[in-house]
């Protein structure tokens, strides 16, 4: 009853159960954090707007992104993944979401920033629907914890539009 095997087994079981419990509580504590992030995006320039050789529209633009995501960080946060997507509707597609830029914020100090950047990923439509198109720019964030449940949310900024003719 008191052999090494039994003792090791009991110790290991208890250690694993306690660890699982602590991880669950750490994740649960994220529910009580008060979050109020803010963001603002401006389109500085439309660099290029043309039809590709396959027939799809492509846009290249420069964005000015400023955001304050410091309130998203809790003690259980490993990093926050943030990205900006253009969302719009076309006759064929009910929803198109195209990610234009993303970044990883590893710490709270880096979470308040302002950058000017051209789109990291190509903004290509499925078709030629982008002339004069109105679209929303949404800033999404994805909080990745040190352990437990991940959660994501976004800020939708409507009212942007593309020019009526190719450049």
């Amino acid at each position: 009853m008191h052999t090494f095997g039994y003792r090791a087994n009991a110790l290991l079981t208890f250690a694993i159960t306690a660890l699982a419990f602590i991880c669950a509580i750490a994740s649960f504590s994220d529910k009580f954090s008060n979050q109020n992030p803010s963001a603002e995006i401006q389109i500085l320039n439309i660099n290029r707007f043309k039809k590709q050789s396959h027939g799809n529209d492509e846009v290249s633009l420069t964005l000015d992104i400023s955001a304050d995501l410091q309130s998203l960080f809790t003690w259980n946060t490993k990093q926050v993944f943030v990205f900006v997507a253009a969302e719009y509707e076309t006759p064929k597609n009910f929803l198109n979401q195209v990610s234009l830029w993303d970044a990883i914020i590893p710490a709270k100090e880096d979470a308040k920033f302002r950058i000017q950047v051209s789109n990291k990923y190509r903004f290509i439509d499925q078709g030629q629907n982008l002339r004069g198109k109105e679209f929303n720019l949404t800033l999404h964030w994805h909080v990745m914890p040190k352990t437990g449940k991940m959660f994501a949310d976004k800020i939708v900024m409507p009212g942007y539009s593309l020019p009526d003719a190719y450049r």
Binding site: S27, A85, N93, N96, V98, S99, H142, G148
Partner: protein
């Protein structure tokens, strides 16, 4: 030497009834593990409710050896979600983030492009020949939570199978030689 002598003695003194009882106990343990796994599949709606992160393509968020909990709901796939998908012809599922989503109005079919956070290029090179988009049936689940480091056990057992055999052998020996 005494331990080996004891083991040999106890193997010699095995009775059939005791052996059968132990075999059934072992069978019960294995079956309950299987029941828990299948129940998890039902509850989460995903064919593989727990996966181990095998590559560094999602660092620093997910490191090799972390395990991810997945859930699959009928809700549409949206950009930013971390999805687990399998490509025709590859058996190992891949965990990456959806960066482009185009959803059709009438049929609710969806085209998804994914990319690992730590990769420079998107996943078109990983898809099957000629495939430009992922569709709903490729996606096995969305990652909703994770535990660090726990998956190393699986990685070690897959990459060095000798350890798996040693473990199973030791377990078998333990079962046979235990007096209850």
């Amino acid at each position: 030497m005494g331990f080996i002598g004891e083991t040999v003695d106890s193997i010699k003194s095995i009775k059939i009834r005791q052996l059968l009882t132990q075999a059934i106990t072992l069978g019960m343990i294995v079956t309950s593990a299987l029941i828990i796994w299948k129940a998890l599949i039902c509850v989460t709606g995903s064919e593989s409710p727990v996966v181990v992160v095998l590559s560094e393509s999602m660092e620093p968020g997910f490191q090799r050896g972390d395990i991810l909990f997945l859930r699959m709901t009928k809700e549409p796939i949206r950009a930013g979600e971390i999805v687990v998908f399998s490509v025709d012809g590859r058996e190992i599922p891949i965990v990456h983030r959806a960066i482009k989503v185009h959803e059709r109005g009438d049929t609710k079919e969806v085209d998804v492009l994914t990319k690992g956070d730590n990769n420079d290029i998107d996943d078109i090179g990983l898809y099957a020949e000629g495939q430009l988009w992922l569709h709903r049936h490729h996606i096995m689940g969305r990652a909703v939570g994770f535990l660090p480091y726990v998956g190393w056990v699986t990685i070690i057992m897959t990459e060095k199978p000798i350890i798996k055999y040693i473990l199973i052998g030791a377990l078998g020996l333990l079962v046979i030689t235990s007096k209850d």
